[in-house]
């Protein structure tokens, strides 16, 4: 029943996206092609990042078990390009803040889902061998959706001209956390030697915290006028 398992993983990964798309009212705004455009921007940004990393960052030639903190930190810094990409998408869309955020985040996250999850599922989950990592990947994609929504919201807030002074600092901190979340996660796994399920839990908690903070700031910003 391995095709069944493939179906399980795909539904676990994809349905939340579908539900979010339907329930957030994006379908009423004909936002489908805009989401696709956001996805295309995602692909372009990823390609640029890959080229940049390949050209300027040497391969790590140290010991196997040692974790290259500085190198990984530098690589994570390149993820700032993600923020630029999101900003680009949002600036091209006219409309309310929420609309822009949702379109950008949905398109971005769906593109990531398709690009990085489809093939592992097709090749791996369909095989005879069973591994928990495919279910973990599906959960991870759910968490990514929330993460990208939060990231888009923070980017949007950062670029607002009417952002109060007191909000600058928290927004910047959140922005930094969003970009370096991957790096922090790897750090935790290495230092505390977390198991795969525990790491997933920590990631979910971290993303939840970031998204709650960004939501709080967003609500305050939007309704303070």
């Amino acid at each position: 029943m391995t095709l069944f398992h493939f179906g399980n993983c795909v539904s676990l990964a994809y349905f939340p996206y579908f539900i979010t798309y339907k329930c957030s009212g994006l379908s009423e705004y004909n936002a489908f092609w805009r989401c696709v455009q956001a996805g295309a921007t995602y692909l372009f940004v990823q390609l640029c990042k890959m080229l940049f990393l390949a050209t300027f960052f040497p391969t790590w030639e140290g010991a196997v078990g040692v974790y290259d903190f500085v190198g990984e930190f530098m690589k994570a810094t390149v993820d700032l390009a993600d923020l630029l990409g999101l900003h680009l998408v949002m600036s091209r869309n006219a409309g309310k803040g929420e609309y822009k955020i949702m379109v950008a985040a949905m398109g971005w996250a769906t593109a990531e889902l398709i690009m990085s999850r489809c093939i592992p599922f097709w090749v791996g989950a369909r095989g005879i061998e069973f591994d928990w990592k495919y279910i973990q990947m599906s959960f991870d994609s759910n968490i990514s959706l929330v993460h990208y929504i939060a990231m888009a919201a923070v980017v949007w807030m950062f670029t607002r001209y009417d952002l109060p002074k007191s909000f600058r600092l928290p927004v910047t901190i959140l922005l930094g956390l969003c970009v370096y979340k991957g790096f922090l996660m790897e750090l935790f796994v290495h230092v505390f030697l977390l198991g795969s399920w525990t790491a997933l839990l920590v990631k979910a908690v971290l993303t939840g915290a970031i998204s709650l903070c960004s939501l709080f700031l967003f609500v305050t910003l939007v309704h303070s006028n």
């Binding site: 029943m1 349905f15 092609w33 295309a40 692909l43 690009m115 090749v123 709080f216 309704h223």
Partner: protein, 554 residues
């Protein structure tokens, strides 16, 4: 909108293609829980009779013998727990396959288990089965797979529905898959034999033939190293070739009054096919050959690497005054005077043509009316030591092997140079100092012979073992020739099958009910998520209420 869409799609395709290609290449390799080599049980036809396991492919779930349902499953057994009844039970329940796990180092096993397995090997082969039977060497991963399978197999019978449900979520089943094709007969297999000679001084001399078969036999061809049977025989033959070639070229002794013909026969364990065809070719189809003229006797060497017994097997007791009788007497003399700890005796067994296979190699010569003996430390040809995969290098005692070599060499020298008639006492040792039997030579020969399996199905005419033996003989003997035996097309005496070594993959699998359980859990998770998203507005308004009093205060 469509222009926009087409532009978007164009962009997407341009960038996604390289990404997906990269991902595809990286992830195309399938991963298995564990991959290991397995060696199949023998499969061959001899004189029309089929033996061994007929099948090679398998793709079944693993179980151990304790499980209740064994049909269409791969039954795994360890050597320590192996017994013939369990094996029969697996076959009767029409198991899909049997995998027997052997320890890496046989010497860790207690002797009685090894002995019991050696005695069971011919029985395993005698029962022709369509079930593929494989042997695997144990390592840590395989052992863990076995223990996990054992736990799940033994708990299958007695448990309630709730326990079974819990079990499915946590247990690991294993699917065993082999990668090869179905086994089929190998066409046109050539069994190679090698002969070489040392010519004596004079005309029309009688010939002494020394024979040893160089192949080995066991329940799995790739695991038959045949140290004692017949690696010891080959080592002795090669050492005798070296000693006598020195003796024959040594100026002061001159060559003896006998020709010496050395023969390394192939296919010995398959009813001495090499010898049989060699005799036919030499006696029926050639005009002149050493075998047609005066043959004094033929001495076959079979399993001489251990123990303090020595038996001379004959099919007809030698007549007084014949060269065979002289050999017998000289053997007794040498043993009595030089090696009293050795127990020597003659064993007389008539050739029984009604048997499926001949007992010893000398019987082939006996059928063609050539006087022959076999020298062995085994008393019976049915001894399990002759056809066992347990027969590895530790089974050979080097000191006893070199002592046996010396006994044979001394005896032959006394016969060739007629020493007893000339009144030379039985105590005189010829092969000493420069001419002594070199134990290091024997040791290295034996180590080389037992370093790889020598089953007849694995030794093609181009194999390295045949080439090395030919090279060695060429170094000491003259007229070294190859002799090939191919099975007759219409009525083959022997048929070998392939797919004797496979790679087996053990994949971790979950039972079908697990997928259903998982689907149920995922459906409930998605339901909860749907409700959460629907009611997202509640969270939003809550936060708004939390923030707005603060704003109002400003």
């Amino acid at each position: 909108m469509f222009e926009e869409a087409s532009e978007v799609l164009e962009n997407m395709l341009k960038w996604s293609l390289p990404l997906s290609l990269v991902l595809f290449l990286v992830l195309l390799r399938a991963e298995a829980a564990h991959e290991f080599s397995v060696y199949r049980m023998q499969q061959y036809d001899l004189q029309g009779q089929t033996y061994g396991s007929r099948n090679a492919i398998l793709n079944t779930e693993a179980r151990t013998v304790e499980a209740e349902v064994l049909s269409r499953r791969c039954v795994m057994m360890r050597l320590a727990d192996f017994s013939y009844e369990k094996y029969q039970k697996a076959l009767q329940q029409s198991a899909g396959a049997v995998v027997i796990i052997l320890p890496q180092n046989m010497s860790t096993m207690p002797q009685d288990i090894v002995q019991q397995f050696m005695e069971l090997e011919p029985e395993l082969l005698a029962t022709e089965t369509i079930v593929p039977v494989y042997f695997a060497l144990e390592d840590e991963e395989l052992l863990s797979i076995y223990t996990q399978t054992q736990i799940s197999s033994s708990s299958q019978g007695s448990s309630s529905a709730a326990e079974v449900l819990l079990h499915t979520a946590t247990a690991n089943g294993f699917q065993m898959v082999t990668s090869g094709a179905q086994s089929k007969a190998v066409s046109d297999w050539a069994i190679t034999s090698l002969e070489g000679r040392l010519t004596g001084a004079g005309e029309d001399l009688p010939t002494i033939v020394l024979v040893a078969h160089y192949d080995s036999f066991g329940v799995a061809p790739w695991l038959s190293y045949g140290a004692d049977s017949n690696g010891s025989g080959v080592a002795i033959l090669l050492e005798l070739a070296r000693l006598f070639s020195r003796l024959y070229s040594y100026k002061r002794s001159h060559a003896g009054r006998y020709n010496l013909l050395f023969f390394l026969s192939g296919g010995g364990k398959f009813n001495y096919q090499g010898t049989k065809r060699w005799l036919e070719d030499n006696l029926d189809h050639t005009d002149s050959s050493l075998l047609q003229d005066n043959v004094a006797f033929v001495l076959c060497l079979d399993t001489l690497g251990n123990s303090d017994n020595l038996y001379l097997h004959v099919s007809k007791p030698p007549k007084e005054g014949s060269p065979q009788h002289i050999l017998l007497k000289e053997l007794e003399t040498v043993v009595a005077h030089q090696h009293p700890e050795l127990k020597f005796s003659m064993v007389h067994k008539k050739i029984n043509l009604a048997d499926d296979t001949l007992a010893w190699e000398h019987e082939r010569f006996g059928i063609r009316r050539l006087p022959a003996f076999t020298l062995s430390h085994l008393e019976s040809h049915r001894s399990p030591a002759r056809h066992s995969i347990m027969d590895k290098r530790p089974h050979v005692d080097l000191t006893k092997l070199s002592r046996n070599t010396k006994v044979i060499a001394e005896t032959l020298a006394r016969v060739i140079y007629n020493l007893t008639e000339k009144g030379v006492s039985g105590d005189l040792e010829i092969f000493t100092e420069q001419m002594q039997v070199q134990e290091d030579q024997l040791a290295s020969l034996l180590d080389w012979l037992t370093a790889q399996p020598r089953a007849a199905q694995l030794l093609d005419k181009d194999s390295s073992i045949v080439h090395t033996l030919e090279y060695y003989l060429n170094h000491y003997l003259k007229d070294v020739k190859r002799h090939l035996v191919r099975a007759d097309k219409r009525d083959p005496e022997f048929v070998f099958y392939d797919q004797l070594k496979q790679t087996m993959n053990a994949y971790r699998v979950k039972p079908a009910i697990f997928d259903l359980l998982l689907a149920f859990c995922i459906a409930s998770y998605l339901g909860v998520l749907y409700l959460a998203i629907q009611n997202f507005g509640l969270l939003y308004s809550f936060l708004r209420r939390v923030t707005s009093p603060r704003v109002k205060q400003h």
